[in-house]
């Protein structure tokens, strides 16, 4: 028989469409509108998972997002497997394929359950006590063990093929929770013409109203009223209704994160649809209407499949038309469980007994129980349950100490309701303890936020609706409400401790018992935050939605302290598990980071370049010809450039236009050099420090006129250099008449270097004389190149005769082509960043960030000549005078020559004086740059070494894993020491 526990006439599902699905390979049927849990229950399946630590058989407990046990994997295909899905919220669809987790080989028989027999050896704090020293055991023993034992479910092995999207949204009022309170608040706001977003995590608005068969509002059932309210709101332009949308995080200044699940309930999602949409909502006002969550009872044997929350059973019956059993017991400390029992009884289900922990219960409720002919035992406890994979009986201890046995196949429990303070607490609100009702309630709101309905502890529907309207500043209307159910009662803490036959679980998912919490307190954990971490209570994926209050009460009782003094653990986002995909959104693949390309990039692609990333840029690294290795290509590029010429795309260099009558004075502050004597038309190498006296950036600066400088920065340094300059200009020297503009991308920059550089470019240049006499090294001129306004520099980063042509970027490719047409017939080549690095190292030119690391002064780098000591002030001047920066023994930049000229050192390798000294050796410094120089036929390296400038000629050693390399300390210039080639 299919769906034996589907109750005819119960629930609101239309039963019009049967849905086929599988669980652990077995086929079942359900109805459209079911959750996976309700459909499995309709088929009599309670056992849905195994617990984390002891692998105990577990059934579904809750009918909502708080479910701790029924975590399953949902598989669509190889790449679409979602672990840890709560069966209580997963909507059923045709062909849904669910598997249980945390079990081997099957759910019914699990070897890991041996852990349960070992449980005396797994007490609270087990990991902390066991996994200590020796350190080696971590790698070999502890970590593998923890890794195998830890973690729920399995991640898919392929990358996620689904699309995720993001939306920033703004509204006057954001309402989280679409139950009675949320709907009323939304209507109140909408009528005031405010822009409203109302979200609810369920497929339909209504919240608890959908599960309450008794209530009538304005002559409609709760479900009808909710549907009509939602339909009315949907017609309004100023209201956005988001179902299947969880408010998972409340951040500063009324920013709330929502995740909308779009396709997880669909059998065959439209490929064009995203799977999830992240909403980042900024609201002027937030209304939290999260409702409340029912607590489990803590008693021995409370975790057998078939033991469920009373409210969940009521929801399954009244919404899904499913009964959790046929002979049902009830164990409660709260009036609401009676309503659940009565509903089931009226549907023809046997209610064997209601065991009430309370000695006194309201007479009207007891009278109703008598009417239903249900036995009620007051002041009693459930002392034990039986049944391996499903409960089959319970032992009740009455107030007089008498034992009673009941045969049951399901047990409803209710320890009362905990207001959901998750989002309120995330908004940095401080929950306040209400002694009378023994619960935490929202206190003051630090943000423009108000809580309404169940999450404020308000139970009566009339008051809930009034609260919602008042939250929006309205005078409450009068609703006609019938049959309001009492929610009196409740208990926090355990009604009994673990026995040999059954444990009293507080946290089902993490297998934390009342005894574990007691042990933690005995062992000195006196703050709830410590108890939590020691026992892992509340640290599972459900974040203790059922367990936190019980854990707190048990600890407080043992500590003999009032609950607020023991404290409430902090709620942190996300409220429920949230996919990585929703956070990533569309920012992956090419949209993860901008990939910046120069106007000349395509030419490099067409000419076979390999690229390297430099900050966000893609730069041509080298241009291998057919059959060439990288090494051969770089050698050829260097040789050709030094013998004939090379052209190089330097467009990524940062460029800043510094203009104004005080431009030179400002440059004097920002750079260590002096700019007073630099004439228009000349250029200079500048060093920028921060106030600490360390090198921050460098580059060549051209003076175009007395009021205009063309400043270049390193490729990666451009944004921070501009920020640094703006900072000083705006806040330290606001009186200076200087303006800054980034022109990095205005100009494409083509470097032409080598003996034939002038011959290549001369015919392309108009409006300037670039002869050796009239345009010497370190000159700049505004002219035209190929008819386009250009800034031409005579500078060199190779040591050869060199020019850098700056042209407006959209012309970059065209002018590069023109240069190439001139260069190629002469035998010149294009070279990439690797050859550029080799040639600059041969000349001892530093790269900031490679030969410096933020602790290197200009003096350390051998650049004392670039510091204008006579200037009264520049950024870094005072910093350079700090005792540590002027002491002996600082690391200074030197060259290294390997005794074996073929040996290329590793960058980052450490350098020592005596390789025979005991370990740990004294490190004198390290290699910063190292290359094979084809030009010189040997390796070259730069290094930062203690007192390097005093060690010229000394022999030092570079100890590597398999050898010790002997090196000689040299100067930093390896090639053309006199610099004659520059002036060619």
């Amino acid at each position: 028989m299919t769906q034996p526990f589907r109750i005819k006439g119960a629930g609101t599902l239309p039963h019009t469409r049967t849905i086929q699905f599988t669980f652990d390979g077995q086929s079942y049927e359900g109805y459209e509108g079911d959750t996976l849990a309700s459909a499995l229950l309709a088929n009599g399946v309670h056992l849905m998972g195994r617990s984390f630590k002891y692998h105990r058989p577990r059934g579904v407990v809750a009918a909502g997002p708080e479910e701790p046990n029924a975590l399953v994997g949902i598989t669509r295909d190889r790449a679409r497997h979602t672990p840890n899905v709560r069966a209580s919220v997963q909507e059923l669809y045709d062909g849904l394929n669910a598997t249980s987790q945390n079990r081997f080989p099957t759910l019914n028989f699990d070897i890991g359950a041996l852990n349960s027999l070992m449980s005396p050896f797994f007490p609270a704090g087990f990991y902390y006590k066991t996994f200590k020293w020796p350190a080696k055991a971590w790698d070999a023993l502890y970590e593998p063990f923890i890794r195998r034992a830890a973690g729920l479910g399995e991640a898919p092995t392929e990358s996620d093929p689904d699309r995720y999207v993001n939306r920033f949204a703004h509204c006057d009022v954001l309402i989280i929770g679409g139950g009675a309170a949320g709907l009323a608040a939304a209507q109140a706001a909408a009528e005031k013409s405010q822009s409203v977003i109302l979200c609810d995590e369920n497929p339909a608005m209504g919240g608890w109203l959908l599960a309450d068969s008794d209530i009538q509002i304005d002559g409609q059932t709760g479900a009808q009223w909710a549907a009509n309210m939602a339909a009315e709101l949907a017609t309004r332009d100023n209201v956005r209704l988001l179902t299947r949308t969880t408010g998972f995080g409340y951040f500063q200044h009324n920013m709330v994160g929502l995740v909308e699940r779009i396709t997880d309930h669909q059998a065959r999602p439209e490929p064009s649809q995203p799977r999830e949409r992240m909403w980042q909502v900024r609201a002027k006002q937030v209304v939290i209407a999260q409702g409340s969550i029912e607590r489990a009872m803590v008693f021995p044997g409370n975790d057998r499949p078939g033991i469920v929350l009373a409210g969940a059973a009521q929801k399954w019956l009244n919404q899904y038309g499913v009964s959790v059993g046929s002979r049902i017991g009830v164990y409660t400390a709260c009036d609401t469980a009676y309503a659940a029992a009565f509903d089931l009884h009226e549907a023809g289900i046997g209610i064997e007994v209601i065991v009430d922990y309370r000695k006194v219960v309201d007479e009207t409720i007891l009278a109703q129980a008598r009417e239903h002919k249900i036995e009620v035992v007051l002041g009693a406890t459930v002392a034990q349950t039986t049944g391996r994979l499903r409960i089959n009986g319970m032992q009740v201890k009455t107030a007089t100490g008498e034992q009673k046995e009941f045969d049951i196949d399901a047990l409803l429990m209710s320890a009362g309701w905990t207001p959901s303070l998750h989002l309120y607490s995330q908004s940095r609100g401080k929950p306040v303890w209400d002694e009378a009702s023994q619960r935490f309630l929202p206190g003051e709101s630090p943000q423009d936020c108000i809580c309404v309905g169940g999450c404020t502890g308000t139970d009566s529907m009339e008051q809930v609706l009034a609260e919602a309207e008042r939250a929006l500043g309205n005078k409450p209307r009068k609703f006609d409400i019938e049959d309001d159910v009492s929610t009196d009662g409740g208990i926090i803490g355990a009604t009994g401790n673990s026995t040999e036959k059954g444990k009293a679980f507080v946290d089902f998912q993490n297998d934390v018992t009342a005894k574990d919490i007691a042990l933690a307190v005995r062992e000195g954990m006196h703050s709830i935050e410590h108890v939590k971490r020691y026992t892992t209570n509340g640290m599972a994926t459900d974040q203790g939605k059922l367990s936190n209050m019980h854990g707190l009460a048990i600890a407080a009782n043992l500590l003999k302290k009032p609950i607020p003094e023991v404290g409430l653990t902090t709620f942190r986002p996300p409220y429920t598990p949230t996919t990585f995909g929703s956070f990533v959104g569309h920012t992956r693949g090419p949209l993860f980071d901008p990939e910046r390309k120069t106007p000349i990039h395509d030419w490099a692609v067409e000419n076979g370049a390999d690229f390297e990333p430099v900050s966000l840029w893609q730069r041509a690294w080298y241009f291998p010809r057919a059959g060439e290795t990288m090494h051969e290509a770089v050698d050829r590029e260097c040789r050709t450039t030094r013998e004939i010429a090379g052209i190089f795309d330097a467009s990524t260099l940062g460029k800043i236009e510094v203009t104004g009558p005080d431009a030179a004075a400002f440059m004097n502050i920002m750079y260590t050099n002096s700019w007073d004597k630099l004439k228009a038309g000349r250029a200079k190498y500048g060093i920028m420090c921060r106030e600490d006296g360390f090198i921050y950036d460098d580059g060549v600066v051209g003076k175009l006129s007395d009021t205009r400088f063309h400043v270049t920065t390193t490729t990666g340094g451009a944004p921070r250099v501009l920020n640094h300059m703006e900072d000083y200009l705006q806040t330290e020297f606001p009186e200076m008449k200087v303006w800054l503009t980034s022109t990095s991308e205005q100009w494409a920059t083509i470097a032409v270097q080598g003996p034939k550089a002038r011959e290549i470019i001369e015919p392309l240049v108009t409006g300037a004389d670039i002869s050796a006499e009239n345009f010497p090294h370190m000159s700049v001129v505004e002219c035209k190149v190929c008819g386009v306004p250009a800034r031409l520099f005579r500078i060199s980063f190779t040591g050869e005769l060199g020019f850098e042509i700056n042209v407006p970027a959209d012309y970059g490719r065209s002018i590069w082509d023109a240069v190439w047409r001139r260069a190629q017939p002469l035998g010149a080549c294009a070279y990439g960043t690797e050859a550029m690095h080799v040639m600059r190292a041969e000349k001892g030119y530093i790269i900031v960030g490679q030969d410096t690391d933020g602790t290197v002064t200009p003096h350390d780098a051998g650049l004392s000549w670039a510091i204008a000591k006579s200037k009264p002030d520049f950024v870094g001047k005072r910093g350079m005078m700090r005792p540590d920066l002027v002491r002996e023994g600082r690391r200074q930049l030197v060259g290294l020559k390997t005794s074996d000229p073929g040996k290329v050192l590793e960058e980052g390798a450490q350098i020592v004086e005596d390789p025979e000294q005991p370990v740990p050796m004294k490190m004198l410094g390290f290699v910063t740059s190292s290359y094979w120089s084809g030009t010189l036929g040997k390796s070259i390296a730069l290094a930062l070494i203690e007192d390097g400038s005093l060690r010229l000629g000394e022999t030092l050693y570079v100890p590597m894993a398999d050898e010790i390399i002997e090196v000689e300390v040299t100067g930093t210039v390896f090639y053309d020491e006199k610099g004659e080639r520059l002036h060619g």
Partner: protein, 100 residues
């Protein structure tokens, strides 16, 4: 994510447009060369890290580009006041009033 009022744009804008720029009202003397090591240490290295009102600089870097100053309460993240660069540091009395 913070919502920050820029005193130059005269509007609230999302934190993603801003960059924090450290503590406010640190005076960089014009005659820095004469500073003692102790004074330099105090100016360059030592920073407040209050649980309470932080006087800090922000730059509306992806907006109007201006640096400005703010009083932010580090517990609530409330901005008690924002004001333009160069304006005087609010007195302790004024800060105390703003907290209320």
């Amino acid at each position: 994510m913070l919502l920050i009022h820029c005193p130059y744009c005269e509007a609230d804008h999302p934190e993603l447009e801003f960059a924090n720029a450290g503590e406010a009202h640190i005076v960089r003397p014009r005659e820095m060369s004469n500073m003692s090591d102790e004074d330099f240490e105090a100016m360059f290295f030592i920073r407040d890290n209050p649980k309470g009102v932080s006087l800090e600089r922000w730059r509306h870097v992806h907006g109007c580009g201006r640096f400005f100053n703010a009083l932010r309460h580090t517990v609530s993240d409330t901005f008690l006041k924002v004001y333009k660069a160069g304006e005087a540091r609010p007195s302790n009395d004024e800060i105390a009033k703003l907290i209320k």
